[in-house]
């Protein structure tokens, strides 16, 4: 087990290096000059050249990459062009906001989808099964930004139960998820984020569970005299490798794809930060954000692989 974990960990290093190269290259390829968006149109060319040299933008690309990588490894993601603040702290603060609501969303979706998917798989063709199918189709087809807006209209505007946007008085730094006055700001973003993964995971749970329930060993379990609950326990444990893989994928999707939801709710996460960085062509900020997101994605996959090998003994020894 530990050998497998170590090997898997070492294997992530080249992946992470690849991630840094792509992050760096993506921004190089993108059109637009960060300096022109920083200065007034009538700035003299020599002043622009000086700025260029100051930010290292006049160096060869490979050199720029290595310089950048060296600084990144030291935890220095550079300085934001837009507001001169260190990128690292800004990205990490935003990332914390994003990862927490993404985790809550995906875990909520995971638990609910297991319950709904299991009921649907056991009572195939029943009322719950049809409702679950309807819910799943709804969840997959509805765009999250539309859902987010509808949630705001219903719960913030009409019912006035929940705040519409932002993180409230505490703000990013002292936000406490265990205090209702803070947490109520997170509820609608969490729900809006959770619906698509919930729908997809419910479908997957139902499909993989009904496949498992048709396998030979289920008949063995029945022939052993086990009751329905025990048999379902066996079956659920057997879909866990697939469910965990799905959980990881959805979490990755949530941290990367939360731009729209975070924009609607003005939730100060990486999605909103990306939005801001792109609009202001803030290259260090953009690179830093993408890098953190990509790195998080790689780490999530690592954790998923390790978790899978814990639940499925066939994985680690092969």
């Amino acid at each position: 087990m530990w050998m497998y974990a170590l090997r898997r960990l070492v294997l992530t290093i080249p992946i992470l290096l690849g991630v840094t190269i792509i992050c760096f290259a993506l921004v190089q390829i993108a059109p637009g000059d960060p300096i022109t968006s920083l200065v007034r149109p009538d700035t003299p060319p020599e002043q622009i050249a000086a700025l260029r040299a100051y930010y290292g933008l006049d160096q060869p690309v490979v050199f720029q990459y290595l310089m950048w990588l060296w600084r990144v490894l030291g935890g220095n993601f550079g300085t934001s062009i837009a507001n001169n603040a260190p990128v690292a702290s800004e990205v990490m603060r935003a990332f914390a906001n994003t990862i927490v609501i993404a985790l809550i969303s995906v875990l909520f979706a995971f638990v609910v989808s297991l319950v709904l998917g299991t009921i649907a798989a056991i009572r195939q063709g029943g009322i719950v099964d049809r409702l679950v199918t309807a819910l799943a189709v709804f969840g997959i087809s509805v765009p999250t930004f539309w859902l987010a807006v509808v949630l705001v209209i219903i719960f913030a505007v009409n019912l006035n139960w929940l705040p519409a946007t932002g993180m409230g008085a505490s703000g990013s730094d002292s936000f406490n998820y265990f205090v209702w006055d803070d947490f109520k700001f997170a509820i609608m973003p969490i729900v809006a984020l959770a619906l698509p993964p919930l729908a997809i995971m419910t479908r997957i749970t139902r499909a993989s569970l009904s496949e498992i329930l048709n396998q030979d060993f289920i008949q063995t379990l029945r022939a052993k005299g086990l009751g329905g609950f025990q048999i379902i326990t066996h079956a659920i444990r057997n879909i866990m490798p697939a469910a965990i893989a799905m959980l990881g994928l959805q979490l990755g999707y949530l941290i990367g794809g939360s731009v729209l939801v975070e924009t609607v709710f003005t939730w100060p996460g990486t999605g909103a930060l990306l939005n801001k960085a792109i609009l202001t062509r803030d290259i260090p900020l953009l690179q830093g954000t993408i890098l953190v997101l990509a790195g998080a994605f790689v780490l999530i996959n690592l954790v998923v692989d390790l978790a899978q090998s814990l639940v499925d003994p066939r994985i680690k020894r092969s």
């Binding site: 008949q219 052993k224 005299g225 086990l226 066996h234 057997n238």
Partner: protein, 357 residues
């Protein structure tokens, strides 16, 4: 032929069907109903089995042998299955027991070994867990006691280094060991009826014999009744007391193993026996049974084997041939078979007129 049979005739008669039958199946019919078609999988099967006896059920794929056996455990999906007839195991009326009672019988009084040891065990649970689980379910003991019992059982089924194998997962064991583990699961609560559904078919030839010998030995030691489904006649000859030959969901020949295997009377049994490889000349082509088994969704009237039978005449297709039984309880269901001087005799030229009604 008759000279060979006569000496032990009295002996066999003395132990023929008596009320002490432990397993009693009468007129069992099993139909699988779906929107498209009704599959008549078992069409009136009757047999009796005493304590400690081994019944081998022989037949091609699709002859209903596995379905018949799964019925004894009520393993079919209730919604799609129609079952009629009688099934008794000991004092339990299998047709009438509640699902809760049935699940208590499964794995304790009646247990089953499946054909494919690859897929019949849960891949994510250790062997020890899978054995202990059954013990815990039926004997209401804790996990430690269950594992202790599992260790004894692995020793009983001769698994080498059983302590290590308890903690192994199914994919870490060979096919033979997996099937032994499966047998250990089945025997874990000392069943009085063991159902074995082609337990050696998926195994290597050398392992087959080992597992077979082990099963026979354990069956004798524990005094279990056993129903053993196979399509291997050699296997049947090894372990059977009684043999039932099934075709299209019916028993078409039944009797003591020696009678059925040495002196088959039904044309199907005869054809099947002559299509096995014994000491034939290599250059001679093997006998095979022409044609394919009938479609169970649309069974013809009359003898189901008639379309493939070289002795068949128009009378075979008219109506289902009656069972013909001799004094030794050897039964065949064929219009060309009659009981002559207390023994079954197959007479290819004989017309239906000679058959007792």
């Amino acid at each position: 032929m008759n000279e060979m049979r006569s000496p032990d005739l009295s002996l066999v008669e003395a132990q023929s069907e008596t009320p002490e039958a432990y397993v009693k199946v009468k007129d069992l019919e099993v139909r699988f109903v779906s929107r498209e078609a009704t599959v008549k999988a078992v069409n009136g099967v009757s047999f009796e089995l005493k304590k400690g006896e081994v019944l081998c059920v022989i037949g091609e794929s699709g002859s209903g042998k596995s379905v018949m056996m799964r019925s004894l455990l009520q393993l079919h999906a209730k919604k799609r299955t129609r079952m009629t007839g009688e099934m008794r195991v000991g004092e339990h009326d299998i047709m009438k027991v509640t699902e809760k009672r049935m699940s208590e019988l499964r794995g304790s009084t009646i247990s089953m070994i499946f054909q494919e040891p690859m897929t019949a065990l849960d891949p994510l649970y250790t062997i020890g867990d899978q054995i202990a689980e059954t013990v815990m379910r039926h004997e209401r003991v804790d996990r430690d006691a269950g594992w202790k019992r599992a260790l004894e059982l692995l020793e009983l089924v001769r698994v080498p280094s059983p302590e290590r194998r308890l903690k192994a997962y199914p994919h870490e064991l060979s096919g033979g060991l997996r099937q032994r583990a499966m047998i250990a699961v089945a025997l874990s609560c000392r069943p009085s009826l063991l159902l074995a559904d082609e337990p050696t078919t998926a195994l290597d030839a050398s392992v087959q014999i080992q597992v077979l010998v082990l099963l026979r030995k354990l069956q004798r030691e524990m005094g279990m009744s056993m129903i053993f489904v196979t399509h291997d006649l050699g296997v049947a000859a090894q372990i059977a007391d009684k043999v039932a030959v099934m075709y299209a969901g019916r028993i078409i020949e039944y009797g003591n193993a020696r009678d059925v295997l040495m002196h088959p009377e039904h044309p199907y049994t005869r054809a099947m026996l002559s299509s096995t490889i014994k000491d034939q000349d290599r250059s001679a082509p093997l006998d095979t049974i022409a044609g394919t088994p009938p479609d169970l969704r649309a069974l013809p009237d009359g003898c189901s084997f008639a379309p493939r039978c070289k002795y068949a005449g128009p009378e075979c297709l008219a109506a289902m041939p009656p069972e013909v039984t001799d004094g030794r309880n050897h039964m065949a269901r064929c219009v060309r078979v009659s009981a002559v001087r207390g023994l079954l005799a197959f007479e290819p030229g004989l017309a239906a007129a000679n058959v007792p009604a």
